[in-house]
């Protein structure tokens, strides 16, 4: 349910996204998910891989600035209002969401969303308490690999 997300600082210039991705691919590291947050001048590449220790080391050795963040994979019903339920729980429990993005995983009528909570451990406890299913890292990896 808790995943290690790697964030990499990029300048927002043509070609700059390719470099770290090619580096990982040369090392045989498979990207399970990628999301990009950007401003006019810089971007933050956020990636999830199975072997995050190796990916972190490879990136750092090549000189990239990398940050490791714990994110939470939430199981959401793939129907109108599915996400709203999760957000209501989060709102009631006063869980601060820094950002979120979808994980490319669909199993019948269910979707996976990645949440970056300010306090992941508290979020996990609250969501579980409200009966929301959180996806284990292994389950997530197995489903996309």
């Amino acid at each position: 349910m808790k995943l290690q997300q790697l964030s990499v600082f990029l300048e927002n210039r043509p070609g700059h996204l390719a470099e770290p991705l090619e580096l990982l691919s040369r090392q045989g590291i498979n990207l399970l998910n990628l999301s990009l947050a950007d401003t006019a001048e810089f971007g933050i590449l956020r990636i999830i891989v199975r072997d995050w220790q190796k990916a972190e080391q490879v990136l750092k050795e090549a000189g990239w600035v990398v940050r490791l963040t714990e994110v939470v994979a939430v199981d959401v019903e793939d129907r109108p209002g599915g996400l709203a339920e999760v957000l209501q729980v989060a709102g009631r429990a006063d869980l601060k969401i820094e950002y979120m993005y979808a994980f490319p995983l669909r199993r019948n009528d269910r979707a996976a969303l990645i949440f970056r909570f300010e306090q992941p451990d508290r979020a996990i406890a609250q969501l579980k308490g409200a009966g929301i299913h959180l996806i284990e890292a292994e389950e997530l990896f197995a489903a996309v690999e």
Partner: protein, 444 residues
């Protein structure tokens, strides 16, 4: 009170350091005798100095006391350029055993010369430099100052050898090899520019190496201004004591002044170099304790005696006696050079001011570069700052906050709007010698 250890004797000091502890009246006596001799030598052998003294109606005999130095004409970097290559030499080439040259940023370099005796003095003052930074026989010194025309490499080299230390003449560059040598040869002390050493720490960190685990205990840093915060960063990052040394090719090279165990001001090797502080605008001498431009006169140089050289370094003499026991005067660490300064929209800006702002926000000094451009007749100042792991965040807003805080801190000091760009690590060129902080793309 001596804190140095010499040959494992607590409180002992290297015999070469004896002049550092002369009683003050004795020191002034030596200085006056040498000043009179050097002025006479310059007057007799260097046309430029003779002409300038004659214009002021001065003869060497007019130097009766030390304070008469203030009547002598200044020498500037421009004079060294104008007399390129050999115009200020006071010895025939047959007595000159070494030439060095400093890279001029514009046009011709300047050339400096040494007789055999000058080289002996240079080795002596560098021996005293290393001794005052706590080094002694048995230390293994990795010298990353550049060897060649630059005075840093050979100057430190002969000083460390004459101290009795083991010298590794690795010169600048090839950072991975520097680290390999440092580790495999059990290096205990390193000479480098502070910006290059910061780069070495960074590289070690990337290679998964903790420099604090190495036997390295002392760093001897010079050739460019650096801040106290940068010292803390270096001392903590490498687990060493970092000492500031001072020198310039025009005077002798490294070995003009050095910190001692107190790390509070640099002692001038006053028996060889006479320091003054002047008002940079009026040229008038200032009393000890007041801030101004450092002016140096060589007291024992043979090949190239330099009278009242305008260093462009801004500092002040610390009037209090030093707890280390040295009687030689100290000046405060040079934080800024008046020729590093640039003027933008009528405002004088020193890179050290920008550095102070960056430090204030980040806690440690990131790599940065100032870029000046002119757009539609208006000067623009941009600062590129490399993102460090310490300030990087996975949240866009947090990074925007860092960017804004950096821009605001600089604007607060400089007083004009600056463009601040966060850039990827290692995008700003690293220097193996003096760091280049300002890129001026204004076509004037």
């Amino acid at each position: 009170m001596l804190k140095e250890r010499w040959n494992d004797v607590e409180g002992g000091f290297h015999p070469a350091s004896a002049p550092d502890f002369l009683p003050e009246d004795k020191l002034r006596e030596v200085q006056l005798r040498r000043l009179r001799a050097v002025v006479k030598r310059a007057y007799d052998n260097v046309e430029l100095i003779r002409t300038r003294m004659q214009e002021k109606d001065m003869a060497p005999e007019d130097i009766k006391q030390l304070s008469d130095v203030a009547h002598l004409p200044f020498t500037t970097k421009l004079d060294l350029r104008d007399t390129y290559p050999f115009g200020l030499f006071a010895s025939p080439m047959s007595d000159i055993v070494r030439l060095h040259a400093s890279s001029g940023t514009t046009g011709k370099p300047i050339v400096v010369a040494y007789t055999r005796e000058d080289l002996e003095v240079w080795a002596e003052v560098m021996t005293r430099t290393f001794a005052s930074c706590g080094l002694h026989r048995g230390d293994v010194v990795q010298n990353a100052f550049g060897y060649g025309l630059f005075t840093g490499g050979l100057g430190a080299h002969y000083g460390a050898e004459s101290l009795g230390a083991t010298v590794i003449p690795v010169s600048g560059g090839n950072t991975e090899r520097q680290l390999m040598v440092m580790k495999d040869f059990s290096v205990t002390a390193m000479c480098a520019t502070p910006s290059y050493f910061t780069h070495i720490i960074e590289r070690a960190h990337d290679m998964g190496m903790d420099m604090r685990d190495l036997p390295l205990h002392t760093g001897i840093f010079g050739a460019e201004p650096w801040s106290d915060a940068m010292r803390t960063h270096i001392e903590e990052g490498a687990g060493i004591k970092a000492y500031d040394i001072y020198g310039l090719s025009e005077i002798i090279g490294p070995g003009v002044a050095s910190e001692c165990s107190e790390q509070n001001g640099l002692h001038v090797f006053e028996d060889h170099f006479y320091p003054e502080i002047i008002d940079p605008e009026t040229g008038e001498p200032l009393p000890d304790g007041e801030e101004g431009e450092l002016v140096l006169t060589t007291l024992s140089k043979q090949a190239m005696p330099i009278i009242r050289y305008r260093t462009r370094d801004i500092t002040r003499i610390i009037p209090e006696t030093c707890p280390c026991g040295r009687t030689t005067r100290r000046f405060r660490r040079v934080g800024r050079r008046s020729d590093d300064m640039f003027i933008i929209r009528g405002v004088n800006v020193f890179p050290s001011q920008v550095e102070a702002a960056l430090l204030q926000v980040e806690g440690t000094l990131p790599h940065y570069q100032i870029i000046l451009t002119r757009e539609n007749g208006l000067d623009q100042m941009a600062v590129e700052v490399e993102v460090t792991p310490e300030v990087f965040s996975d949240k866009v807003r947090a990074l925007e906050d860092v960017r804004a805080a950096l821009a605001k801190a600089i604007e607060h000091i400089v007083g004009i709007r600056v463009g601040l760009r966060l850039v990827e690590p290692r995008t700003i060129a690293r220097s193996e010698g003096k760091a280049k902080r300002v890129i001026d793309n204004r076509s004037l």
